[in-house]
């Protein structure tokens, strides 16, 4: 292979490093109305009245919109397939505000200053209602968040809004209770995971305008242009075909942009005023009014024999979806679906629980979606079990984990929001990942702990993870290759590069298939008008699903080049070969440059254009073995990460360097979730972590050198043997670090993050005992 497997630099790298205009707000039309939202100071309130007169009178104010001015259509902001598995439980604007930061009204003005003045001039009379702030008290709470008659589920997801339940789910294989009763060892634990926020460096931003034809054009930083278009059309009551959504470069998404944000408001302003509009979220708005990872409580029961053979796993979870049910069911299901099959030797397994509404920032999609929550609980519990049985935690995993050629009944039972698809594991290099990881971290010498100074102790811990590669039966992607004169190609793809390098990887797949060099492939991605369809960049689907579509398009292009080349050479197609540079027949050859130019200008004239589309049929999991070394400061409780090793089986990496960076970036976010990141609220539901000083993503000094290696692997069902790699990196750090902290100082923190405070207080209690 020439192009696949090569660590080519990102095709947009140079332009971005030069600071060329690339992102939505760099390119948004000017002049444009500045759209700003008035945001609720209350966690739950009814808007008794909104006086807009003073705001409208301000010079430069183009329009002021309240819930009375918008179509009354229930939608979900979750960027998911159609019909969405999330409840349609919100409106563009509503009479009720359900979390601090929820939208009360919208103003558009021709300057920032006028917009700010208009916001200040709005007079709102709130009827403040009792909020639901504790998700463990939410079910059947006296306060009901959603009683609007229009809201509904699209298909059964367990939606019971009158009980504050957004979704519910239950599954089982075998008789868990019986196995637990009989088992030699039973371990029951409860773990909590916190709300985490994406903090993509580029905030949510969009711009809208009407084009020559009066169509609504939307330039937006989104991971799911087609879903945005479809949901906008529904909310704004206009035909889908009258909207065009385009995404330029994106400054990071991580799932945060798999939701609709300003698009509905901005679009409405443009519809009302006829003018271009743009809406840029401030960082404080991103914190208060977008989405977080769903916080969860996980009650886990493990049954095993004394030798460490797992016999049953029971995972019951409660998930907090905040004010709206965005991704409520699907995130919940993944907590089981992307963790439990890892230990497939059990006799019985059960998973279930509910997702409830509270008056908090809504939950939403976030890299590692459910999996990180489930992974933290399961991989912590396994470490606790190993400790109780006095077994090496690595051995415990080795004894119980899934292997190549095996399956799990869970694959067929659980999908995302629906049933799943049965599959056999054709590639799983976990044994190699574990061996190499142990070697890299120096497990033998370092496990479990060693002194590292007068008040410092070091310890190591580990965790395994699996993920998926797209959603089978749902994720679909398409790609079109167009041959240009003088031998270059356009690759038109629906896939959405959110900074991950997927444009580059997909170009490499096209180039490899065509035997040409990647720089001949000029990529144009994700524009609902100009490129073919793609469900979007989520669920680790781009390489595996979109990659297939690209490969198919390129195979067809290759065949077409042979046909046309052979025709020009006057030979039979079967006698012609194409090596990327020329089509060669028995008696001569024609270069790609020549062939393409003649096809368009002089001989047998036609446009060669091929399209491939691919429906995800299975979702082969990538795997990862992670090893963490931490140092705990006994005086402050601070946990410093010393080393983190991750060895990944992601199949054949299309671009090893980009694959490694994906894992490294995921690890860094997982490390943040493990140690410092937490969305926190005050007593009345006000957000306490509304800026980057109080919400702390890891900075450079918090992340040690991460050692990421890719195991040699090949997934038969993947394009060139590839599986996904975008999400798996994030899954393991919470468990691996929690396990390392336990091994270092004997303190088991069962609620994330492992702040210095929790560790120190637990140490003190331990000492007092």
């Amino acid at each position: 292979m020439n192009e696949v497997g090569k660590s080519l630099p990102k095709i947009d790298g140079v332009g971005l490093a030069l600071g060329r205009p690339a992102y939505t707000d760099d390119l948004a039309p000017r002049p444009a109305l500045v759209v700003r939202a008035l945001r609720s100071p209350h966690a739950f309130a009814r808007l008794k009245s909104i006086d807009t007169a003073a705001a409208e009178a301000i010079d430069g104010v183009a329009c002021v919109l309240t819930w009375r001015d918008v179509p009354r259509v229930a939608v979900t902001r979750a960027g998911q397939g159609h019909p969405e598995p999330s409840p349609r439980d919100r409106f563009i604007l509503d009479e009720y505000v359900r979390h601090v930061g929820d939208e009360v009204a919208v103003v558009a003005a021709d300057s920032e200053a006028a917009a700010v003045a208009a916001l200040a001039a709005l007079v709102v009379d709130y009827e403040v209602l009792e909020p639901v702030l504790d998700f463990e008290q939410a079910e059947d709470h006296a306060t009901v968040l959603h009683s609007e008659p229009e809201i509904h589920e699209n298909f059964p997801i367990g939606f019971e809004p009158t009980r504050n339940i957004a979704s519910a789910y239950a599954m089982h294989v075998g008789d868990v209770d019986k196995v637990v009763q009989d088992a030699e060892v039973v371990l029951r634990r409860t773990y909590y995971t916190q709300a985490q926020q994406h903090v993509a460096l580029e905030p949510m931003v969009c711009a809208t305008w009407l084009d020559l034809h009066g169509r609504l054009n939307v330039l937006t930083s989104t991971q799911t242009p087609w879903h945005v278009r479809r949901i906008m059309a529904r909310a704004l009551e206009m035909p889908v075909g009258e909207i065009r959504v385009n995404k330029p470069r994106i400054g990071g998404g991580f799932g945060g942009k798999q939701m609709i944000h300003g698009e509905l408001l901005c679009g409405l302003v443009t519809r009302r005023t006829g003018k271009a509009a743009r809406m840029v979220y401030s960082r404080r708005e991103v914190f208060a009014a977008t989405n977080t990872r769903h916080p969860m409580r996980m009650d886990i029961t493990l049954a095993a024999d004394r030798g460490g053979h797992l016999r049953a796993i029971d995972m019951q979870a409660l998930s907090d979806t905040g004010a709206y049910g965005e991704h409520a069911l699907t995130v919940f299901m993944v907590a089981g679906a992307k963790t439990l099959p890892l230990y497939n030797k059990v006799e019985a397994v059960r998973f279930g629980g509910k997702t409830v509404y509270t008056n908090r920032v809504p939950g939403g999609a976030f890299r590692g979606y459910g999996a990180i929550q489930g992974n933290y609980a399961l991989e912590s519990a396994l470490a606790e079990l190993a400790h109780e049985l006095d077994l090496d935690p690595v051995e415990l995993r080795r004894m119980n984990m899934i292997a190549e050629g095996e399956t799990s009944p869970i694959f067929a039972i659980m999908g995302e929001g629906t049933e799943g698809v049965a599959m056999t594991i054709d590639s799983c290099k976990l044994p190699a990942c574990i061996d190499r990881g142990m070697e890299l971290i120096g497990w033998g010498e370092k496990y479990p702990r060693r002194e590292a100074g007068p008040e410092k102790v070091r310890g190591v811990g580990m965790a395994l993870a699996m993920q998926g590669s797209g959603i089978p039966g749902i994720d679909m992607a398409a790609a079109t290759l167009k041959l240009n004169d003088f031998g270059s190609f356009n690759l038109l793809i629906g896939a959405t590069d959110l900074g991950t390098g997927s444009d580059t990887i997909l170009a490499q797949i096209a180039a490899e298939t065509l035997s040409v060099s990647t720089d001949l492939i000029k990529v144009y991605s994700s524009d609902t008008d100009r490129t073919p369809f793609d469900t979007g960049a989520y669920a680790s689907s781009t390489t595996y699903v979109s990659g297939h579509a690209v490969r198919t398009a390129a195979q067809k292009m290759r065949a077409a080049l042979l046909t046309e080349g052979a025709a020009m050479l006057g030979c039979a197609e079967k006698d012609a070969v194409f090596d990327g540079a020329e089509v060669r027949g028995p008696d001569g050859a024609i270069s790609l440059e020549d062939l393409s130019t003649r096809l368009l200008y002089s001989q047998n004239q036609k446009q060669l254009c091929t399209t491939g589309s691919h429906l995800c049929e299975k979702s082969p999991p990538p795997y990862l073995a992670a090893f963490a070394e931490v140092e705990v400061d006994l005086g402050t409780g601070k946990v410093d990460l010393i080393d983190f090793v991750a060895v990944v089986d992601c199949g054949q990496a299309i671009n090893p360097n980009l694959a490694r960076v994906q894992v490294e970036g995921g690890l860094a976010q997982g490390i943040g979730m493990a140690l410092t990141e937490e969305v926190r609220y005050g007593k009345r539901g006000t957000l306490l972590t509304g800026d980057m000083m109080t919400y702390r993503i890891p900075a450079r000094q918090d992340i040690p050198r991460l050692t990421v290696e890719l195991a040699a692997s090949h997934e038969p069902s993947g394009p060139f043997g590839a599986k996904s790699v975008g999400e798996i990196g994030i899954d393991t750090p919470p468990a691996a670090i929690a396990n390392a902290v336990f091994n270092a100082v004997g303190v088991r923190v069962r609620d994330l993050p492992l702040t210095a405070e929790k560790v120190l207080m637990a140490l003190r209690e331990g000492r007092a005992k």
């Binding site: 402050t636 980009l658 000083m693």
Partner: protein
């Protein structure tokens, strides 16, 4: 207001509202969209540019402060034909992912390499500490800087001739006073209420968070009389407009007042250190300020001036309560004086934050003491931050320690318990009261164990 500056080597005459952020003027007026906004409050570094060769956050600089200065943005760093070696290296290693943090990060990397052409990995991590990236996990960026280290670059363009002051316009929404002499500043101060602006790191963040911009702003950043570090045999005078970087770069400060140097090093990250000032830290009166406890423990005296003359207030007496200091509306802080400590004075500054950079202390402690010929503790001073509405002096612990033998059994543990007991901190988003007590005690013990 009319100002003159150079942007990427080109002279620019700008007619701007003075309190607009340099960031907005670059992006909206000059079309230089390479500089990004990630937070608007100095925390992420996406907006970092060079101002007279120093890294600064364009979201925290009111544009009038750019007058007479040379600005370099990412667009001025290199172009497709002549990229800066760093730009090429970032692409090569994979340091550019989504790319949104990249312009600021490149400007920080360039500033770092200009100051230290062959940095160690630790220096790189410190130099780039104020530039958050959510995509890469940082390793690639560090590799990229190492790759580009030592590759020579063409010099940054020469700064403009900074003579003359900006010309205010009658329709400026905010009246910005830009005196170039202290007596003029004091006259302005006496003429009516005004908000003093120095480095802007606190004020501009507050404006971004919704604090209304006042009608009259008095800029002290141009006052040469307020800048500089003057060391004499008796001590040092540090002008109020002196930046953290000036403190860090001063060998005398590091040698004679290491606790202060350490506190300065632990403030924010390079761009904040280049902008933020000593006077601003004192006047901002945040209970979590890092420099203030160090200045207090080192027996600093705040020098306040007004048209009435000079007033000297020890740092330990400067604070009256939460965010309330003894600076009258007609005064400004001119300097802080520190005496030269006894050569055998042990000094330390500890900060328990959450993250190593860009984090406000959950607890900090500046501590000084001497051990006399008999092995007894003398001149003990302990000053803690973030544990009370203002700095906490720990009088009981200090008195208990004074004269006690350093080798006394359980000295550290008993002092820790006393210190934990004599403060009454609060629970807030950063930490609980109980945690603050425990950590403060442990930090006192850490100091005593040496």
């Amino acid at each position: 207001m009319k100002i003159v500056c150079t942007v990427n080597g080109q002279r620019r005459e700008l007619d701007v509202r003075p309190m607009r952020r340099l960031l907005d003027v670059l992006r909206e007026d000059l079309g230089l969209t390479g500089t990004k906004e990630g937070c608007g409050e100095g925390e992420c570094g996406a907006c970092a540019v060079h101002v007279d060769g120093r890294l600064m956050n364009a979201c925290q600089m009111p544009v009038f402060q750019a007058h007479g200065r040379g600005i370099v943005t990412i667009e001025g760093l290199g172009d497709r034909d002549h990229p800066d070696p760093l730009q090429a290296a970032f692409v090569e290693t994979g340091g550019v992912q989504c790319g949104f943090c990249t312009p600021g990060l490149l400007m920080a990397s360039r500033a770092l390499l200009n100051a230290s052409p062959q940095p160690t990995e630790t220096e790189i991590r410190e130099g780039l500490a104020g530039n958050l990236c959510r995509c890469t996990g940082y390793g690639r960026v560090i590799e990229a800087v190492q790759l580009a280290a030592g590759v020579p670059v063409v010099d940054a363009p020469a700064p403009v001739d900074g003579s003359g002051l900006p010309v205010p316009a009658p329709d400026d929404a905010v009246h910005v006073l830009i005196p170039d002499r202290l007596d003029q500043a004091l006259a302005d101060r006496a003429a009516g209420p005004c908000t003093i602006l120095a480095g802007g790191t606190d004020l501009m963040a507050a404006f971004n968070a919704g604090l209304p911009v006042p009608d009259r702003v008095l800029d002290v950043s141009c006052l040469q009389e307020l800048r500089g570090i003057e060391v004499t045999a008796a001590g040092v005078r540090i002008g109020s407009a002196t930046s953290y970087s000036d403190l860090i770069d001063s060998p005398d400060v590091t040698r004679i007042w290491p606790a202060m140097a350490e506190a300065a090093r632990l403030v924010g990250a390079p761009a904040v250190q280049n902008m933020g000032t000593v006077g601003g830290n004192l006047a901002n009166a945040s209970p979590g300020a890092d420099l203030v406890p160090a200045l207090a423990a080192l027996a600093g005296v705040v020098v306040l001036v007004s048209r009435q003359g000079e007033r000297r207030v020890p740092v330990t007496e400067f604070y009256r309560g939460y965010r309330d200091c003894d600076c009258r509306p007609d005064e400004l802080i001119a300097a802080v004086d520190l005496p030269t400590p006894a050569p055998d004075l042990r000094q330390a500054f500890f900060k328990a934050g959450t993250r190593r950079a860009q984090s406000i202390a959950r607890v900090n402690l500046a501590a000084c003491a001497r051990i006399d010929g008999q092995g007894s503790l003398r001149d003990v001073r302990l000053v803690a931050g973030s544990v009370a509405p203002t700095i906490a002096l720990l009088p009981r612990t200090t008195a208990w320690l004074e004269g006690r033998a350093i080798s006394a059994p359980n000295l550290a543990d008993e002092a820790a318990a006393l210190a934990a007991d004599e403060i009454t901190p609060i629970d807030d988003v950063r930490a609980s009261a109980a945690y603050r007590r425990t950590v403060l005690g442990n930090l006192v013990a850490r100091f005593l164990r040496g």
